[in-house]
């Protein structure tokens, strides 16, 4: 009797454990759907970083190409999902997400570099302008003085010419 009770309890535990696993396990359809949503979110997030890098003055053309590849993969994943090929849909969506995550990281790096270059320009350009103004001013002043001296010399070299009177 005791043996039977123990056996029953073990069996019942196994059934409960199996049912629990089934309940929590994701179906291929749900898994593909989740992967597609995650890929779309990652692409939006990566685009946000790319747009920021673009506004910071970075060259984003390469990142745009990569992100468009991710979009294309996502579209393929959606098509596969509609055709109930959940395994392919999941695979393509995961690939799209991975590309988007890489693009986001690279875009963040590019934005940081572009911001640094811009900051440098903000410091260097005013210095160049100020120096150019100072040198320009000195150059103009010297040029002006040279013109003045030349005018004075010409004035001093002037001779009074008196026309000779004709003899009558």
């Amino acid at each position: 009797m005791k043996k039977k009770t123990v056996l029953f309890l073990i069996l019942a535990s196994l059934i409960v454990l199996y049912a629990g696993t089934l309940a929590y396990a994701e179906s291929p359809q749900a898994s593909a759907n989740r992967a597609i949503n995650e890929a779309q979110d990652s692409i939006y997030s990566a685009y946000k970083s790319v747009a920021q890098a673009d506004q910071a003055g970075g060259d984003v053309s390469n990142l745009v190409d990569q992100l468009n590849t991710a979009i294309s993969l996502l579209e393929d994943a959606k098509d596969s999902y509609e055709q109930e090929d959940y395994s392919t849909a999941n695979e393509k969506a995961v690939e799209a997400k991975n590309i988007a995550v890489t693009v986001e990281k690279n875009a963040d790096d590019l934005r940081a570099r572009a911001n640094f270059t811009r900051s440098l320009q903000m410091i260097v350009i005013p210095i160049i302008v100020v120096l150019a103004v100072i040198f320009g001013f000195i150059f103009l002043k010297r040029g002006w003085k040279w013109l003045e001296r030349k005018a004075d010399e010409e004035f001093l070299e002037m001779e009074v010419v008196v026309p000779e009177e004709e003899e009558e």
Binding site: Y44, D54, G136, F137, K141, E148
Partner: protein, 162 residues
């Protein structure tokens, strides 16, 4: 003589200041450039890829041979989404309000500034009838709101499906 010098110095300062103002303005213009208008474009092209020879009659289930062209002139990178909707004479759509119809197909692409994107439609209609209205709305992702928004640009083609 001192009066002449003062006068000449004043002229010099006036010339120097004017020159600096002109140079600064030229520098500013060359660095910033003239202000540019920003806009997006969506258009439908015929089977030859030109804005001509649009089909007016198709058969049920037949793939419609046309292209959509999207151009980015927003002076920045843009994430565009084209939504295809099937309407009729009663469908209401405007530059402020998209059509309240379900989206049949979505196309999306990120475009660099001044970049264009042309793609084939690859759609077919399975409902017989006259005056089918193929509507293509241009949306874009707005990173500030974290969602796509209607740009107010849309195009359409009227089709009889037999």
């Amino acid at each position: 003589m001192p009066k002449r010098r003062t006068e000449e110095n004043l002229i010099f300062i006036a010339v120097a200041v004017s020159t600096m103002i002109v140079v600064s303005m030229l520098l500013y213009t060359s660095v910033t450039g003239p202000p540019r208008e920003s806009f997006s474009v969506i258009s439908i092209l015929g089977p030859s890829g030109k804005a001509a020879d649009y089909p007016t009659d198709v058969k049920v289930g037949e793939t419609i041979d046309m292209y959509i062209l999207v151009e980015n002139h927003e002076n920045r990178v843009e994430y565009y989404v084209v939504r295809f909707k099937l309407g009729d004479v009663n469908t209401v759509i405007s530059d402020n309000q998209p059509a309240t119809l379900s989206t049949r197909k979505t196309y999306q692409q990120i475009l660099d500034d001044k970049e264009a994107w042309q793609f084939p439609l690859e759609v077919s209609i399975n409902e017989k009838g006259d005056d089918h209205r193929l509507i293509f709305e241009l949306w874009r992702y707005n990173e500030n709101i974290g969602d796509i928004e209607y740009t107010g640009n849309w195009v359409q083609v009227w089709l009889d499906v037999g």
